[in-house]
Amino acid sequence: MTTATKLVSEFGRKGHPLGKSIYRDEVPSLVSQLRHRLGMSEAELDLTPASLKRLEDKLFELPHDKRIEVLSEDEIVQFVREIAAYIGEVLLVHAEGRWEPLGTLLSTKIVFEGNIKITKEGHRRTVPSMAFSLGNIGAAALDMISLGRRPLFYRDYLSAKKKTIKEELK
């Protein structure tokens, strides 16, 4: 089965315009398109951390005719761009990240710097920086919804804000 992540990866490798990096000056337009797509107001999607929970709820409760199962490939990747832009802007502003477009949607990152505490393989250590892939967050959200799982954007925000990242494989 084709997944949103597979499509985003393929679009990036093919050099399709929708698979390319998101630049920050595109964010207002993409956020506006997301509000329109989901039928949400500026007050509901106001780019605050709290709005991430509203976005999670809305996406999880998407009616069938708006889910990726019925969208074209272009529409799915466009949807990922909109989600990625929204999450990226919230993380950038409220968790003090740095926008880093590296050529493709999947490699568009928000980078957090300065004594990031990571827990991996049971060990805690501090690293100088940590990147969050925006394309991955957006695409994984749509894939998880199609599998009946709720995306966890607010968890992502808290992790970035606290500069505490845990590898969670269970």
Binding site: K6, S9, T104, K109, S129, S133
Partner: protein
């Protein structure tokens, strides 16, 4: 890419990187001596790297582990040291990256990515004992890497620095088509 007498590709100053098949040919891990900086065709193509990995015979079973510097006593110290060696000797950008498994929603942290392909992640493994075992946490990482590989179309690559994977771990990586390599950095 220069090749050592035993077949290892020489990279950077004194470091040697090679796919496991090279270890099989040489009979033991190689130590480089001299050398030109270089890019590595080895790391340019995932499939060839994987094929090299799967060609592993029994060499690792009999080879001794390479000791790591005695000053590196804790998992944190040795982990940071291993990443530093990979960043200095290979075309890898050591940038920790948080990735969500699109199948399970679980969170994976990679140690870096190839400069040539930011979507091709790198996992660095080191060990005080010189051997990395297939503990449950490692098994969980491989399961997640398998999902990510299936969706990204390219597999994360594991690099063992002055360490070798245990036989069960080798088998697990082969089963999940995880490309892996060893980097030997001579210690002072």
């Amino acid at each position: 890419m220069l090749m050592a007498a035993g077949g290892g590709a020489l990279i950077g100053s004194g470091a040697v990187i090679f796919a496991p098949v090279v270890a099989a040919a040489a009979g033991d891990l190689l130590v480089g001596t001299g050398l030109a900086a270089g890019s590595t065709a080895l790391f340019g193509a995932g499939v060839s790297a994987y094929e090299a990995s799967t060609a592993l015979g029994n060499a690792l079973e009999g080879s001794s582990a390479i000791p790591t510097a005695k000053a590196l006593n804790s998992p944190n110290e040795i982990g940071a040291w291993g990443e530093q060696q990979v960043g200095e000797n290979l075309p890898v950008n050591i940038q920790h990256t948080r990735i969500i498994d699109p199948v399970t929603g679980r969170v994976r942290i990679y140690d870096g990515n190839f400069y040539s392909d930011p979507e091709r992640f790198v996992e660095v493994k080191t060990s005080i004992q010189g051997i990395v075992y297939a503990r449950q946490m490692i098994r969980d990482q491989i399961a997640t890497d398998s999902n990510i590989s299936a969706n990204y179309g390219t597999s994360p690559t594991w690099i063992f620095v002055n360490a070798k994977p245990s036989r069960p771990l080798v088998n697990l990586m082969q089963q999940n088509r995880i490309p892996w390599h060893q980097l030997h950095v001579p210690m002072e």
